[in-house]
């Protein structure tokens, strides 16, 4: 999240006025040692495979991104226009660090990268995503994932 002082006044005022959902607790669990971690990436950047359905405004669903995806096979259909997309145009890893994760798998810093990663569209009310999030948790367990790195956009 950028410093408010680095934003335009209108953008900073908009973000400050946003409602932030309150949750009663925090689902904290002990994490695995990195060398034993099987890590999935989840992003809210609105990424999808080029031949997959794009995201629509208010989308509560998600897209599956295979672990061996090529960077040129992903497009971005996030509804918001108020963030930088030039970084993504230049390098997928600035929103979805799949190459960095593969490097960490190859040099055994982590146990493994997940077989599948996932993308939401981040301009939807977080509470509306609960059903999809619960479904996704089941898929992550099936893939033996025990750590998730989330990149918000």
């Amino acid at each position: 999240m950028v410093r408010l002082s680095d934003l335009s006044q209108s953008e900073a005022e908009h973000l400050l006025a946003l409602d932030c959902p309150q949750f009663a607790d925090s689902p904290f669990a002990d994490g695995p040692e990195l060398k034993n971690a099987r890590v999935a990436l989840i992003t809210s950047a609105g990424l999808s495979r080029r031949d997959d359905a794009t995201f629509r405004p208010g989308a509560t669903d998600y897209r599956v991104i295979p672990g061996d995806i090529a960077s040129g096979d992903l497009v971005m259909s996030h509804v918001s226009t108020n963030y930088d997309r030039t970084g993504f145009a230049q390098d997928l890893n600035v929103v979805f660090p799949i190459d960095r994760l593969r490097e960490m798998e190859n040099d055994k810093t982590i146990g493994s990268a997940a077989g599948f990663h996932y993308s939401f569209m981040g301009a939807t009310e977080p509470e509306a995503l609960e059903k999809s999030a619960r479904q996704l948790a089941g898929l992550l367990k099936e893939d033996k994932v025990n750590a998730v790195f989330f990149t918000p956009v």
């Binding site: 925090s26 990195l34 629509r56 405004p57 030039t86 970084g87 994760l101």
Partner: protein
């Protein structure tokens, strides 16, 4: 929102890993985030205080557009806009092709249409807001939004063939200097005035970034 472990980073919105083509820095961010797994109690909110490489104002490169653009006071009719847009895209095409060859990747494609057709749809809507969607399974509102995103991506990628531009330099160039930027400002105005509520909502909030909204014409001003 109390996520179990969060790493605060000072990077621009849309760049959660910092800077493109800076793999060492990106890896440091990733490792720093994953290192929070070792924390035994939480919620955790840790700070990553290093600025992204190339993000400070003094880092700007003096990037210049690779082609000559139409002057600001040029023909403001719809036919003039179409001609200038076509001319501008023709001039930028070799730079887009060069970038594609260098990177082997494009992010253009959400509209699933030829980029010239996307530009044409935008001009067509500015001329006549009652046109139909060119796609059988996507409403006009979505096709306009996706065409806008593809046009921006195409321009950014063409501009990136000329090395050195920061995100803010490219955004300023697009919205303040290009005919495409002017077309999208006019499109936002036309969409905002449309009776179709979905088109109106997208035109009001999802075409022009808040930082450039002041350039949107308040009324339809293209003859």
């Amino acid at each position: 929102m109390r996520p179990p472990r969060a790493l605060w980073v000072p990077f621009d919105l849309g760049r959660p890993m910092g800077t493109p083509d800076e793999p060492d820095f990106q890896r440091r961010v990733l490792e720093c985030g994953l290192s929070l797994l070792a924390r035994k109690s939480g919620p955790v909110l840790a700070d990553f205080l290093d600025d992204a490489p190339g993000s400070k104002p003094e880092d700007t490169s003096g990037w210049v557009c690779p082609v000559k653009l139409a002057p600001a006071d040029s023909d403001r009719t719809v036919s003039g806009l179409r001609a200038q847009l076509e001319q501008e895209m023709t001039a930028l095409q070799p730079w887009y092709d060069l970038q594609l060859e260098q990177k082997g990747r494009t992010t253009v494609g959400v509209a699933a249409a030829n980029i010239c057709d996307s530009a044409k749809l935008i001009a067509d809507f500015i001329e006549d807001t009652s046109i139909d969607s060119p796609c059988a399974y996507r409403p006009l509102a979505l096709m306009l939004k996706y065409s806008v995103e593809d046009l921006k991506a195409w321009y950014f990628e063409a501009a990136m063939a000329q090395p050195g531009g920061s995100g803010r330099e490219l955004l300023d160039w697009f919205w303040k200097a290009t005919t495409a930027g002017k077309a999208l400002l006019q499109l936002a105005s036309s969409m905002s005035a449309c009776e179709n509520k979905t088109i109106q909502a997208l035109g009001t909030k999802s075409i022009v970034p808040r930082a450039y909204e002041r350039f949107v014409p308040s009324t339809r001003n293209i003859p």
